[in-house]
């Protein structure tokens, strides 16, 4: 990661930006969270989040540091299809729109995605789902924490451990102080920062290089990047689409927002967020196509974004990238902390160990769970296991296996528990096998196909007859 001196800030400037934004997020989180009373106030922001904050939080959470850093990398490696494939991650957000509406209608008092699986499919399927969801949530959290340290180190030279610790500590602190209200409120500002930042960079690339020169230089030096028939890239496109759908359909990050939005907001918020999210990887990614025209030497593909920004705008470009990356990291880290701790609190602590815990006890425990989760993530981030980010790819097999059990469970009375459990287990197992035998780009694809077949066949062979009213009483499990 020392390969990008040209894109680095000095440590002093890095510290100044870190300090300014850390104070801003903590103060804003504490201010917004002052009205987060009781369990619903802390976990679900009072269940009355409006369209503006709802749309922004869905966008900000889905824009991770990966979107801003890996989209240019993919464009540099897979060309036009790389950035288009990444942008299809938005399909998950858009497809979740009708699900969010259905979730709110069926479970107006629900708390977590685990609540739904437990009530809809019973305890065995619930535990399989929890294993998948917690594995994914925790893997994503740790990889985001590590990405924070790695990026701060690469962009400013600040030591990995210190940078990672500061970013994690800031996110944990404001999430503990304000719960989901703090997370959603800061997400709004973070969304604006990210959007304005990537547009400025794209505009600079367009005006300083121009499409004609950019196209001619790529055609001359890297013509494969403009090829629309790159098989591996097309396979990546569909795999990425299903990976995204699986991530969103099962994860409590998105379910907790569906519960938190006021009535009538969920569908619109997720649909608009998907539409606005779709172009971001293209805008963030295409600047990599300026590399041949600018004559840049890119020693590490994952740092192409900051390199181009620094070349176009000097130190100001490096500062801009750092601010955008910090906002993207914080907006995802805080959401993961809040949603994963909700799952641990509701489905593990209360669901398995303290079934009669009062709401007051849970509200108190919620803050400790967030802090404990942050501490655990910090400990796992310390060794800087660089392969973990790559390992996260294979969670595609896990999450894609949940798409059909969840969608069918929400809309089909006849989907049955045994089929849902088998779909998740077999989808994951076969998807993982294909990950190792064929490649990362088919894991989610195969897992979703296997899971879909099992759900369809099991529903056809042994149809259930689920009573939707059971879901409406979800609050009983929390009183």
């Amino acid at each position: 990661m020392n390969s990008m001196q040209g894109a680095s800030l000095d440590a002093g400037t890095g510290w100044l930006i870190l300090a300014i934004f850390s104070v801003l997020w903590i103060m804003l989180g504490a201010y917004l969270g002052r009205r987060a009373e009781g369990l619903e106030g802390f976990m679900l922001a009072g269940r009355k989040v409006g369209l503006a904050l709802g749309t922004a939080t869905a966008m900000a959470t889905w824009v991770t540091s990966n979107t801003t850093m890996a989209a240019p990398q993919l464009a540099l490696q897979m060309g036009v299809w790389g950035m288009l494939g990444y942008s299809l991650g938005s399909v998950g957000l858009m497809l979740f729109a009708p699900l969010a509406k259905r979730i709110h209608t069926l479970m107006p008092s629900g708390f977590t995605s685990g609540d739904f699986i437990r009530l809809r499919y019973g305890k065995t399927t619930w535990r399989i789902f929890l294993a998948i969801s917690l594995f994914y949530g925790f893997g994503w959290l740790v990889s985001m924490g590590m990405a924070g340290g790695v990026l701060v180190n690469a962009l400013t030279g600040i030591d990995y451990r210190i940078g990672m610790s500061v970013i994690l500590a800031v996110c944990v602190l404001y999430t503990v102080l304000g719960g989901l209200r703090a997370v959603i409120g800061t997400d709004f500002l973070q969304t604006l920062i990210i959007l304005v930042g990537v547009v400025i960079l794209a505009w600079l690339a367009i005006t300083k290089v121009g499409f004609e020169d950019m196209h001619a230089a790529v055609l001359d030096k890297r013509p494969e990047l403009l090829n629309l028939l790159m098989p591996a890239a097309i396979m990546f496109l569909f795999n990425n689409l299903l990976f995204g759908v699986g991530e969103i359909f099962h994860s409590n990050v998105w379910w907790s927002r569906a519960f938190a939005f006021r009535k009538g907001v969920g569908f619109k918020a997720y649909l608009i967020a998907g539409i606005f999210w779709m172009p971001i990887p293209i805008v963030a990614g295409f600047i990599a196509l300026t590399v041949p025209a600018l004559g840049l030497n890119v020693p590490a593909a994952d740092m192409v974004g900051p390199l181009v920004a620094a070349d176009l705008l000097g130190t100001t470009g490096a500062i801009l990238v750092f601010i955008v990356v910090f906002a993207a990291l914080a907006s995802s880290l805080d959401s993961l902390l809040a949603a994963t701790s909700d799952l641990i609190l509701t489905d593990i602590y209360k669901g398995h160990f303290r079934p009669h815990a009062s709401e007051n006890e849970l509200a108190r425990a919620a803050r400790w769970v967030v802090a404990g989760l942050g501490l655990l993530a910090w400990l796992l981030c310390l060794p800087r296991i660089t392969t973990l980010a790559e390992l996260l790819y294979f969670t595609g097999a896990f999450v894609a296996s949940t798409i059909w059990p969840i969608a069918a469970g929400l809309f089909w009375r006849r989907a049955n528990p045994a089929g849902a459990a088998l779909a998740m287990v077999a989808g994951t197992a076969i998807g993982l096998t294909c990950y190792f035998v064929i490649g990362f780009y088919v894991a989610a694809l195969v897992s979703a196909a296997v899971s879909m077949s099992i759900v369809l066949i099991s529903t056809w062979i042994r149809p259930g007859n689920f009573d939707w009213a059971v879901l409406a009483n979800s609050r009983e499990g929390h009183s």
């Binding site: 369209l51 367009i206 606005f276 779709m278 295409f286």
Partner: protein, 40 residues
């Protein structure tokens, strides 16, 4: 089959325009929600 400069211009230009509009739309939503007392 190579993407033409015109198609690339349209693709990136449209994406940039939508991304530039997004913060304005979000701020309009925020003002409307706040006026109706439905921010939170």
């Amino acid at each position: 089959m190579t993407i033409s400069v015109t198609a690339l211009t349209w693709l990136v230009g449209t994406a940039t325009l939508i991304t530039a509009l997004a913060p304005i739309i979000l701020i309009i939503f925020w003002i409307k929600d706040r006026a109706k007392g439905q921010l939170w």
